[in-house]
Structures are given as structure tokens and as C-alpha cells.
């Protein structure tokens, strides 16, 4: 029932620790034989993603499937037969023999009433051979060097013969020689045995060298997914890691490497285009429902342009949503309008709340029409909405222009969520570098 050559697929997976969201609608897949590097800065959600896949952290939304079956129906034991997990660190206090330790990896195959048998010992032998530790099975685990112990841990993971390897910083405690050695073993094993490895890696150079594909997480969201060259673009490196760097290739060996050209971190722009921000045009409390609901659903939002003390403005401040804010009662100034246009330009889609348009904020619609470009736009117009045009028809004229350019009319918040979900996760709507890359399969 465990077969190799199966695809692992994550579909809009969300998870959180306590109330703190840690993963937002992450979707990607890994095909048999693929080594996928999970990259991203500290706290970006790499470990959380692996733990959620293992079932150690319950999913709050979305689904993880193996082939065509969802993992949420699997028992703990069945999961252990599919997934081999190498944690970042593992406390070993007792000096058990290496062979015994690796044998623990066979547990998913041994019933409560059984002891290990010939088959299990053969699997252990194979695993030890695969990491080149065959000479040491009778030594105590605490007597091994750091590199050997990491290999013993790897052998324990391999002993279960699970087709999916989830490796969390497997090279963290290794010198460079052992780092390359271990990842090379993982890579050739996956290619040969049609296994899948998801490897959380800090080191982008190692990721670039050993992974078939790179998935980048940033603040719990997937921001890039594709082959090495197209993913590790200067834009992504700046936005996600805050470094100025370029991916180069060594002319002699053809191996990719990362060349940071600036020492310190650079300032990142707010509302990064890599994160799929949805810009909301609102004011006067009209955007309240949209902001609350979309925020709960885990989407990234921005708001503009509103006045200080306006109830939408207050809500945005409470929810931590970036907003362009004008002083109370003043007409929108040129500087504010400029910042509003920038927010629209960095957004992936724009949602227009049913706000009342007067002379003071008509510029919002005008700026939207001017800078919208090809971005998807929707008008939220619940039924029974009173007339919102206090500009003698000029606002209605601009709204008509938006409709003419393909604006979708949405009448319920559920429709809003569905629309946003579609446009944010739609292929080709990502940042230019990721969008131009093949998404790594159909």
C-alpha cells in the first residue's frame, strides 16, 4: 500500500501555533524523484510546514494529499510509513548502539505484539550502507562524531523506507564536507528511488546546488516556487532576505552560487509584491466587513486612501494593515495620492468597498482608474445599497469605467473571499520573475 513514485501535494494549507498564524494558504507539490528545497529567512514557516505535513500540527485549512488521497485520514502509524522526518535536533541522552537507534526507524512496520525480524534488520543494513555507516553499528551513539551522528539520524529516517523525506536543516551541525556529502546522498537516493525530499535549508548556496526546485516562504506565505535560476532572482533576495545579491554560475563547473554584492541588509519595501497583497479602496466604515473577513482568512491587505480617525482607518491600524492616511477633513493631497497610487501598483488585485464618494475622496477612484493597469478589480456592492454618489454623477462615471475594464460585481462577503482567493493564487499573477518561470509541473 506504500508505493513510490507518488506526488505530494499541499493545497492552500494554513496552520497556526496557538492563535499566532504560522502558515497561510501554502500550495505547492513535489513530484517523484524531486528534491525540493524549502527556503526562507528565520521564522518564515519552514519547520512549521514540515510539522504540519507530518501531522504534528493540525491544519487549520487546506489539504495535504499523497497521490489522490488526503493525509488527514491516515493513522499515526500509516503516516510514519509515508513520511520520514529528520528533526532539526534530537536529544539523545542514552548511549544506545547505533544499530538499535536505526532500528527505531522500523517502528511503523512492527506491531505492538511483535519484535523486529529479519526484514527489519535488512532494512537497517541498507540504511546504514546508504549513509556509509556500515562499520559502526555496534558503537554507542554518543561515541560518534557530530557528522557520524547526523548520518546515523539520516539512517534512522531511511530505515522506515518512507517515500517522502522531510528533512529539517539536515546540514545544520555539519562541516562543509559533510554537508555536501549528505545532500548528495539525499539527491541521488531521490533520483534513483523515485523518492521525494522536502529539505528545509538556510544555506541558499546548498539549496541552489542540490535542489531540483526551490520553494520560498516568507512570513508563512509561499512567495516563490520554481527552478533555481528563475526563483533566486535579485528581486526575491532583496524582498525576502533583505540582501542585494545575484545568482551566478561558476564557469568551470557550471555550479550555481550566490554572490551578495552589498554587505548589510537593505530596507525592504512595504507590501511586497511577492506576497500577493490585495488593496482595498474604502472609507467611512464601508470596508469594515471586507477588512475583518479577509484579515481573518489570512490574506495580506492594504487600504487607501482614508482619513485619520475614519473608522476604516482605525480598524486598519488595529489589524496592522498598511494604509494611506490623510489628515481629517482635508481633501486628498498630492503626496497622499502619490502613495495611494504606489500601493495600488504593488498590489496584486484591488477591491472597491461600497464607500460613499464625495468631492473629498473622489480622487481615490480617479487614481484607481489611472493606475489599475491589468490588475483584477472587483466592486463589492451588497444588495440594498443606498446611493453612494455625492459628486453629481462623476463617481458613477468612474465606476462605469471600472466595470467596462472587467470589474467584477460581488454582493456577499463569501463571494469576496472566493474572488480574492482565486486572483491571489492564480498562476501568472505572481511577481514577474516567478511568473515567467514554469511552475514546476502542471
Amino acid at each position: 500500500m506504500i508505493r513510490r513514485a507518488v506526488r505530494l501535494e499541499l493545497d492552500r494549507v494554513s496552520a497556526s501555533y496557538d492563535a499566532r498564524p504560522a502558515l497561510h494558504r501554502v500550495s505547492f507539490h513535489a513530484d517523484p524523484g524531486e528534491v525540493v528545497a524549502l527556503t526562507g529567512p528565520n521564522g518564515s514557516g519552514k519547520t512549521t510546514l514540515l510539522r504540519a505535513t507530518l501531522g504534528l500540527l493540525p491544519l487549520q485549512g487546506g489539504r495535504i494529499s499523497i497521490g489522490d488521497r488526503s493525509t488527514d485520514r491516515l493513522t499515526i502509524r500509516e503516516r510514519a510509513r509515508w513520511f520520514g522526518w529528520m528533526p532539526q535536533s534530537e536529544p539523545i541522552r542514552e548511549n544506545i548502539r547505533v544499530r538499535q537507534y536505526v532500528l527505531y526507524g522500523r517502528n511503523p512496520w512492527i506491531g505492538a505484539w511483535e519484535s523486529e525480524g529479519e526484514e527489519d534488520h535488512r532494512a537497517v543494513d541498507r540504511a546504514l550502507a546508504a549513509v556509509d555507516l556500515s562499520v559502526a553499528p555496534e558503537r554507542g551513539i554518543l561515541e560518534l562524531s557530530g557528522g557520524e551522528r547526523q548520518r546515523a539520524l539520516m539512517a534512522r529516517v531511511l530505515a522506515s523506507e518512507a517515500p517522502f523525506l522531510l528533512l529539517d536543516e539536515p546540514t545544520a551541525h555539519l562541516d562543509i564536507g559533510h554537508q555536501i556529502d549528505l545532500l548528495e546522498r539525499v539527491r541521488s537516493l531521490c533520483h534513483r528511488e523515485q523518492m521525494v525530499a522536502l529539505v528545509a535549508l538556510h544555506d541558499l548556496n546548498l539549496a541552489a546546488r542540490f535542489a531540483d526546485r526551490i520553494v520560498t516562504l516568507h512570513r508563512g506565505r509561499l512567495v516563490a516556487d520554481g527552478p533555481v535560476e528563475s526563483i533566486l532572482s535579485p528581486e526575491l533576495l532583496r524582498e525576502v532576505w533583505g540582501i542585494v545579491a545575484e545568482l551566478k554560475r561558476d564557469p568551470a563547473s557550471g555550479l550555481p552560487y550566490l554572490l551578495p554584492t552589498l554587505p548589510g541588509p537593505v530596507t525592504r519595501s512595504t507590501g511586497s509584491s511577492f506576497e500577493g497583497v490585495v488593496h482595498v479602496v474604502g472609507g467611512g466604515g464601508a470596508a469594515r466587513g471586507i477588512l475583518q473577513r479577509l484579515h481573518e482568512e489570512g490574506f495580506l491587505l492594504s487600504l487607501g486612501a482614508v482619513h485619520l480617525f475614519d473608522s476604516d482607518s482605525e480598524l486598519a491600524r488595529d489589524l496592522g494593515i498598511p494604509a494611506v492616511v490623510e489628515t481629517p477633513f482635508a481633501p486628498l493631497s498630492d503626496a497622499i495620492r502619490q502613495r495611494h497610487r504606489e500601493l495600488i501598483q504593488s498590489a496584486r488585485a484591488v477591491l472597491v468597498a461600497p464607500f460613499a464618494v464625495g468631492p473629498g475622496n473622489l480622487a481615490n477612484l480617479q487614481d484607481l482608474v489611472d493606475t489599475l493597469g491589468a490588475r483584477p478589480v472587483a466592486l463589492y456592492e451588497p444588495a440594498g445599497l443606498p446611493s453612494r454618489d455625492f459628486t453629481g454623477g462623476r463617481a458613477e462615471c468612474l465606476l462605469q469605467e471600472l466595470r467596462r475594464r472587467g470589474a467584477v460585481a460581488l454582493t456577499t462577503l463569501d463571494e469576496v473571499v472566493r474572488w480574492v482567493d482565486r486572483v491571489v493564487s492564480a498562476p501568472g499573477s505572481g511577481p514577474p520573475s516567478a511568473a515567467s518561470a514554469p511552475a514546476g509541473g502542471p
Binding site: 504534528l56 510514519a80 541522552r93 542514552e94 544506545i96 527505531y104 517502528n107 512492527i110 505492538a112 522506515s160
Partner: protein, 363 residues
């Protein structure tokens, strides 16, 4: 699938230790006779044991030919109706406490965990104090005392279980919860002691732990309990091995970690309750026995658990003999020599193996 059921062949070293353990049990029997209130020669004890076990199938005098037949009847009574059930009760209680300690140390991944430290024993004592202090069910004390102690221990175990259930609690928190619980219950115990001074003497005596006045029916009950607990414990060995890698890793290897933790705590509570109900509160056995077991047979919990039971039995049997040696004329509760023996020994173990790969290294 060529997987064998049960234990694999023990190596020679284990056989040697096994023979030594068996010899220790016999020696403790004989020593008890020699050191007891009436010094009985080991050969005579041997004779009486043989006679009673075989039901006198070989005829002759129960005490052998060298003993005056008039005196023999008294000796048989002392050995078979007093010393033997008492030492057997000590063995059984020791085994249960040893197993309980082994389970708790495995689950908490901490060599300091034991039923006494976590308050399970004190919980049992509180249950029993209800009988002594309020005079509830005093008429059928033989039945109600074990029952109340049992309820007390189980309730304490349940509190620790509830703490374990709440998702946030780490193993360390759980352990400290037990320690705090023990302190709380000890306070409650002192309070009940002050509440009714009349019941005090009996309660005090029981609290110190003793096997005097043990009956064969008590031995039978405890033996049955040990069999049940033992059968369930054997199934936990491999799970506890995996749990040493941490709950998450164990779960990633196909083990329902939470369930194993729950079941182990529950099982340890039952084992402790059984022991405490019949012998009162006896500390240190649950703490030391698993240490010695690991020392002798390594870290595999499939062996640590049964060996802890054997070592616990020998420890408490030894304490029983020692209680005669210290004060032959008085009924010294075995909790006293156990504490005399256990305290220094434990400190020794801790310091002896502090650095290096000893079992105390993780403390």
C-alpha cells in the same frame, strides 16, 4: 514477514545476572528466618518451605529431623504464617513500585521521577487517612484501607493525567506539576493528622510502611495485581524506548505518544496504589530500582521494566531482613531501613555516574 513474537534470546551475561537474582531471592528468605524474632536456622527454614510448598508430599517432620517436634509446630507457624507472607508481600510491593518507577522515569524522560516524588504515594496515603481519621469503614479495615488508598492514588494519577492532557504542558512542566502536587498533598496529610489525634498512631504506623501482619490473602491479591500490571507493562517497553527520542519524533515513527504517556501514568498509578494499599508509603524503591536495572542491563526499556520489578522486589525484601537486623524485638516498618539504605545509595549513584555515560548523567 519473519518477525518473532516475544523476547529474543538473552545473552550469557543476562543469564548470569538472572542466576544471581534467583540466588538473592532464596538468600533473603533464609536470612529473614535467621534474623527474625526467633532465630531459625536456614536449613530449618528450607525444610519448612519445602514441606509447605509440596504439601508434605514427602512425609517426615516439617522442620527436618534435627528439630524438636514440639518446637516444630511453633516454627512452622512463624515461618509459614508470618515471615513468608510478610516477605512475599515485601517482594510484591517492591516489584510493583519498581515497575511504577521504571514507567514514570521512561515517560518523563527523567531519572528523578518516581511515584513517591510525583505524589501518587502521598495521594494513596490521603485516601487511607480518611479511614483512620474519620473512622470511615474501620470495621472492615482490611478491605476498605486498600480501597481508599487505591482511590487516592488513582485520583492523584488522574490529576497528573489531566495536566498531561492540556496541550501546552511539556514533560518538564508535568514533572513539576507532580512535585507541586506532592507538596500540596503532604500538607493535606499533616492537616488530617492534626484533625484527629486518636487515629494518628495507626495512621503513622501505616505511613511509615510495613508488611507486618501480612496474610496469604493479601499476598494472593497483590500477586494477581502484579500479573495484570506486568502483562500490560511488557507491551510498553518498545514505546518507552521510542519516547526517549521525544514525543514528536516518537509520533513521527508511528507511535501515538500522547496515548502512551497517558496509559503509562495510569498504569504506574495502579501499580503504586496496589503496593501502597497493602504496605503503606514506602519511598525510594521506585526511584532506585530502575537505576540499578539500567546499570545492569542497559537502556532498553523492554528489559528495564521487568528488571526494575525484580530489583525492586529484592530491595524491599532486603529492607525487610534489615528491619529485623536493626531492631529484632520490635516491628520496625520496612520504610525505615529502605530510607536508610535508599537515601545514601541514591546520592552515591548520582555522584558516581554524574560525569560520563552513567544513568545518573541525565539528572
Amino acid at each position: 514477514m519473519a518477525r518473532t513474537g516475544g523476547l529474543r534470546g538473552f545473552p550469557l551475561r543476562s543469564l548470569t545476572y538472572g542466576a544471581l537474582l534467583a540466588a538473592a531471592f532464596v538468600a533473603l528468605f533464609l536470612l529473614a528466618g535467621l534474623l527474625g524474632p526467633v532465630a531459625i536456622a536456614p536449613l530449618t527454614v528450607f525444610h519448612i518451605l519445602g514441606y509447605e510448598v509440596t504439601g508434605g508430599a514427602f512425609g517426615g517432620s516439617p522442620c527436618g529431623s534435627s528439630v524438636d517436634p514440639a518446637r516444630c509446630a511453633t516454627l512452622v507457624l512463624i515461618v509459614w504464617e508470618s515471615i513468608v507472607p510478610e516477605i512475599l508481600l515485601a517482594f510484591l510491593a517492591g516489584a510493583l513500585l519498581g515497575v511504577s518507577g521504571g514507567l514514570l522515569q521512561g515517560v518523563f524522560r527523567n531519572p528523578l521521577a518516581d511515584p513517591y516524588l510525583l505524589g501518587i504515594s502521598t495521594g494513596a496515603a490521603i485516601g487511607a487517612s480518611i479511614l483512620f481519621v474519620f473512622g470511615v469503614g474501620l470495621a472492615q479495615a482490611n478491605l476498605t484501607l486498600p480501597l481508599l488508598a487505591f482511590v487516592g492514588a488513582l485520583l492523584t494519577g488522574l490529576v497528573i493525567l489531566l495536566a498531561a492532557r492540556s496541550a501546552r504542558s511539556s514533560i518538564e512542566t508535568l514533572l513539576l506539576t507532580g512535585v507541586a502536587l506532592n507538596a500540596f498533598l503532604s500538607g493535606g496529610l499533616v492537616f488530617t493528622l492534626l484533625y484527629n489525634p486518636i487515629g494518628n498512631l495507626q495512621l503513622n504506623f501505616w505511613l511509615l510502611g510495613g508488611v507486618f501482619g501480612a496474610t496469604w490473602s493479601q499476598v494472593g491479591l497483590l500477586f494477581g495485581g502484579l500479573l495484570v500490571v506486568g502483562a500490560l507493562v511488557v507491551l510498553h517497553g518498545r514505546a518507552l524506548n521510542l519516547l526517549q527520542l521525544g514525543g514528536d519524533v516518537a509520533q513521527s515513527l508511528g507511535l501515538d505518544s500522547r496515548r502512551v504517556v497517558m496509559r503509562s501514568i495510569l498504569l504506574a498509578s495502579v501499580a503504586t496504589a496496589l503496593a501502597v494499599a497493602f504496605t503503606g508509603v514506602i519511598g525510594f524503591v521506585g526511584l532506585i530500582a530502575p537505576h540499578i536495572a539500567r546499570r545492569l542491563f542497559g537502556y532498553d526499556y523492554r528489559r528495564v521494566l521487568p528488571i526494575s520489578a525484580l530489583v525492586g522486589a529484592i530491595l524491599l525484601g532486603g529492607a525487610f531482613d534489615l528491619s529485623f537486623a536493626i531492631l529484632p524485638s520490635t516491628e520496625l516498618p520496612i520504610g525505615v531501613p529502605m530510607a536508610f539504605l535508599g537515601g545514601p545509595f541514591f546520592v552515591y549513584v548520582l555522584y558516581r555516574y554524574r560525569q560520563g555515560s552513567g544513568p545518573g548523567a541525565g539528572a
